[in-house]
């Protein structure tokens, strides 16, 4: 009979409407099952896979609970146990980055010799495609994906060009966002360190016995003792921390400082471009 198909279809919509209506009249509607109440209508929602009824999430009051592996913009890890940046400025992240949105300035010591530390680290978040290759290939677990996705600003430049300060987060932050992966990683790192320590001891013992056999007085030790180095690192870290703290005190100052830094970079780039032009005789 003409019209049965239509009626059948309308039955489906009616069923949907009734389901939602009934679901909404319950004390806890299906979509709020297992969600985290923050008060003031704000919730973090974890939609169960067998959810019925209305699926809409009232963003921004309500937000989804993000899965651990959610990836957005990278962040740099400050190792709070060792009080240092994990990043060694090896540049692998900048090399594997598909849109080439990472650029790094390697730090140098007072003699101008490069050291394994970054003095500048930029990520252009407007270019970043959230692929997480930098995380996959970082050998030092120094770069991870942040879950923070509400990044809207008025200007792309310089606000969306993140520098080291904006990118750096403490290890605990990462541990809270990525608990499973963090645990696995810590276990692995401890094992590796243990192995390294054992190897070093073994080597030291071998050297000692060899030296004893040769009956030679040991030559000059390392330029600085381990304790001295650690002290130095601590001082540097403290220094940097105060800098960061200063920056936090007045956001405007920090932005102005950053802008100035950017302007400086820009000026340098222009300088170089001019130089190149002169050299090429144009």
């Amino acid at each position: 009979m003409f019209g049965t198909g239509l009626l059948k279809g309308l039955g489906v919509t009616l069923k949907h409407a009734m389901d939602t209506f009934n679901d909404d009249r319950e004390a806890v509607p299906d979509r709020y099952r297992g969600s985290l109440e923050l008060g003031d209508n704000r919730r973090v929602i974890q939609q169960p896979i067998d959810q019925e009824g209305l699926l809409t999430i009232q963003y921004p009051e309500e937000k989804r609970l993000l899965p651990e592996r959610f990836r957005y913009i990278p962040m740099l890890i400050w190792d709070s146990e060792k009080h240092e940046d994990r990043c060694t400025a090896c540049g692998i992240c900048a090399k594997v980055c598909p849109p080439q949105c990472i650029w790094i300035v390697r730090d140098s010591d007072e003699n101008g010799k490069p050291v394994t530390r970054a003095s500048e680290f930029y990520i252009d978040a407007a270019v970043c495609m959230s692929c997480s290759f930098c995380v996959e290939f970082c050998p030092f677990d120094a770069i991870k994906m942040n879950h923070d996705y509400e990044l809207a600003v008025y200007d792309r430049y310089p606000q969306l060009v993140y520098d080291m300060e904006e990118l750096t987060v403490p290890l605990e932050y990462y541990a809270a966002l990525w608990p499973t992966q963090y645990d696995e990683e810590q276990t692995r790192r401890r094992e590796e360190e243990e192995q390294k320590r054992r190897q070093a001891e073994e080597k030291a013992r071998r050297v000692a016995t060899k030296n004893a056999a040769a009956k030679e007085p040991t030559a000059a030790g390392p330029k600085r003792s381990a304790a001295e180095l650690q002290k130095l690192a601590r001082e540097r870290a403290a220094q940097r921390k105060t800098q960061t703290a200063d920056g936090d005190k007045s956001g405007d100052d920090a932005a102005a400082a950053k802008k100035a830094r950017m302007e400086e970079l820009k000026r340098k780039a222009q300088e170089r471009a001019r130089q190149r032009k002169l050299e090429s005789g144009e």
Partner: protein
């Protein structure tokens, strides 16, 4: 409804040519990776015709071009011609692998147009003309397609450089260790980066509309006594129910379409040029952005091509994971597609929203496993990048065994018997399946015309030969069947998912050497899979370096648009919107 399908035969390796074509083959190419025949330019049409009529290779799948200027490999030491036009043909009747043909062209020479034998070469030859500057003799409508007329140069040529050119190959040296990166905005502060072709004036130029109709002849001879006038209507850019920024240039008489030309390129970003600058691995997240509703299939297709080229093994568990992700992706795509066909018909929102309820849950699963809902970037050469998190398998099993079948049944009840849908869809947009094949159309469209051709059966990849599933077909080749075939295919996907989730073994998920540098051996490969929209293929040429020499995407959305004009002629202008909707295009893939 389903029927026995063409199952793979061993691919035909040698062509047996008649006497008069004996001298057509002038050599072979890339015999170590995927053998191709070198054909004399003046014989190419005869060879194509012979392959189509005698050998049964009726499907011109991929037509593209390679610029070998500055090629570093060893295979082309004594070759002077710069460009090579590449053809790949398949048989929809016997299945199996391709026949690959190359034609060498000096820089300013022309090639006979294959449109005389395969009308489906239309869009692909226009693309080659646009991006490489190769002219095709006898092409009915050889205009630029992705770029506009005022674009200077042919960007896929190796010596063409973009306005923000940095280096030929990534990683760029400016990023580390000195961090000397300069913003593009600063390099060209007044945006004086526009150049025009010589003798071309932007002020006097006018967009030619007079060429409509171009590739289809108007047919208003049937009522010569009426003094009517046809007019040109521009549908778009944007509206055609907003599948993206796309334009349909139509000539209508009353409401009847006399001719229709698709105009595209608004989202063009020269994906392929970027792909040639990238290392092999860097292209993986870029493929996500092609058909952004199905990043899993795109990843897989690219990974398949590179694995074939470099000979990388994939562990068992990774194969299962790939099948699971791709089939979930197919359901997501078909749900969207059904929703949009109904949207285009005027059934605004309700069917679309019902159709995508379960899509949200599948996307949640994608996010839990890969970290992103759409841009999954999940596959790597030799497997997948992350294993399933705790609880994923149970959730997916619940979806596949319980929720998805129920949801598809509900969609079926909601729509299939609907009299309005039948009235609008039956007999609209008809094109015979033979015409569709000759227009290089693939995917659900040809199965809705009655031909059971599915690459998962015809040339199985991955582990599809292990699963028990059918290829549904429908006989009518109209809008209604194109809607319904997608529902049936989603049901088959559910069947595959149930089997895959039941049988998935434990084990490794990533084979090969891993790492971020890959050097593929010199040669070329074309690899394809049955993406939800049709045949998605990647054509890769390697000269043994860390970046692809040529990276070409055979995107189903783009090539299926060949049929849009012929399908729409004679129907009403309101039907054209649905006809486009039923092709199921994604502009990220059309414009690349």
């Amino acid at each position: 409804m389903s029927q026995a399908t063409a199952v793979a035969e061993p691919p035909v390796v040698d062509i047996r040519f008649e006497q008069e074509l004996a001298d057509a083959i002038v050599g072979a190419w890339a015999e170590d990776t995927q053998k191709a025949y070198m054909i004399a330019p003046d014989k190419i049409l005869a060879v194509l015709r012979h392959l189509r009529d005698v050998e049964g290779y009726d499907f011109l799948s991929n037509l593209t071009c390679v610029d070998y200027k500055g090629y570093g490999g060893k295979l082309r030491n004594d070759v002077s011609e710069r460009l090579e036009v590449v053809y790949r043909l398949y048989s929809t009747r016997i299945g199996g692998g391709p026949i690959s043909l190359h034609v060498r062209v000096p820089q300013d020479e022309t090639v006979p147009s294959a449109t005389a034998v395969f009308p489906g070469a239309n869009l692909q030859e226009r693309e080659v003309y646009d991006l490489f500057g190769v002219k095709f003799d006898g092409h009915p409508n050889l205009r630029r397609i992705l770029l506009w007329d005022g674009f200077n140069g042919h960007p896929m040529r190796k010596d063409w450089q973009e306005a923000y050119y940095e280096e030929d190959v990534k990683p760029f040296r400016s990023r580390h260790p000195k961090g000397e990166y300069a913003f593009h905005e600063d390099k060209l502060p007044w945006a004086k980066n526009t150049t025009y072709p010589t003798g071309w004036d932007p002020d006097s130029w006018q967009q030619p509309v007079a060429y409509v109709p171009v590739s289809q002849a108007p047919h208003h001879e049937n009522e010569p006594h009426l003094d009517t006038e046809s007019i040109v209507v521009n549908l778009g850019p944007h509206h055609p129910s907003t599948h993206g920024v796309f334009r349909m240039l139509t000539r209508v008489e009353g409401e009847t379409i006399l001719a229709l030309e698709p105009e595209m390129g608004y989202l063009h970003r020269n994906h392929e040029k970027i792909g040639e600058r990238n290392t092999w691995l860097m292209n993986m997240p870029f493929t996500d952005r092609l058909d952004y509703l199905n990043s899993m299939s795109n990843n897989w297709s690219y990974a398949l091509a590179v694995e074939k080229l470099a000979g990388i093994e994939v562990p068992e568990r990774a194969e299962y994971l790939r099948v699971i992700m791709a089939e979930f992706g197919r359901i997501v795509n078909h749900a969207w597609s059904i929703g949009f066909i109904l949207n285009d018909l005027g059934a605004l929102q309700t069917p679309a929203l019902y159709a995508i309820e379960e899509r949200e849950m599948i996307l949640d699963l994608f996010e839990a496993v890969s970290g992103a809902r759409l841009m999954c970037n999940y596959m790597r050469f030799g497997g997948v990048v992350r294993d399933l998190p705790a609880g994923w398998h149970e959730q997916a099993t619940y979806l596949a065994n319980d929720r998805l079948p129920r949801a598809l049944d509900e969609l079926d009840r909601l729509l299939t018997e609907n009299e309005i849908l039948k009235a609008r869809g039956r007999g609209v947009g008809y094109l015979s399946v033979e015409d569709l094949i000759s227009l290089s159309v693939s995917g659900p469209m040809i199965r809705a015309g009655g031909l059971a051709y599915d690459i998962r059966k015809a040339e199985p990849y991955g582990i599809y030969d292990r699963f028990d599933f059918d290829i549904p077909t429908l006989p009518n080749s109209d809008i209604y069947d194109r809607y319904y075939i997608r529902l049936l295919e989603a049901r088959e996907s559910v069947r595959i998912l149930q089997q895959a989730l039941r049988d998935i073994p434990e084990g490794e998920i990533l084979g090969g050497k891993g790492g971020y540098t890959l050097r593929a051996p010199e040669g070329e490969v074309y690899s394809r899979l049955e993406a939800p929209k049709g045949e998605l293929g990647f054509y890769l040429v390697s000269d043994g370096k860390t970046t692809p020499w040529r990276y070409h995407v055979r995107s189903p959305s783009y090539i299926n648009l060949n049929a849009l004009g012929p399908m729409s002629v004679g129907y009403k202008i309101a039907d054209a919107i649905v006809i486009l909707g039923a092709i199921d295009i994604v502009l990220g893939e059309v414009d690349r």
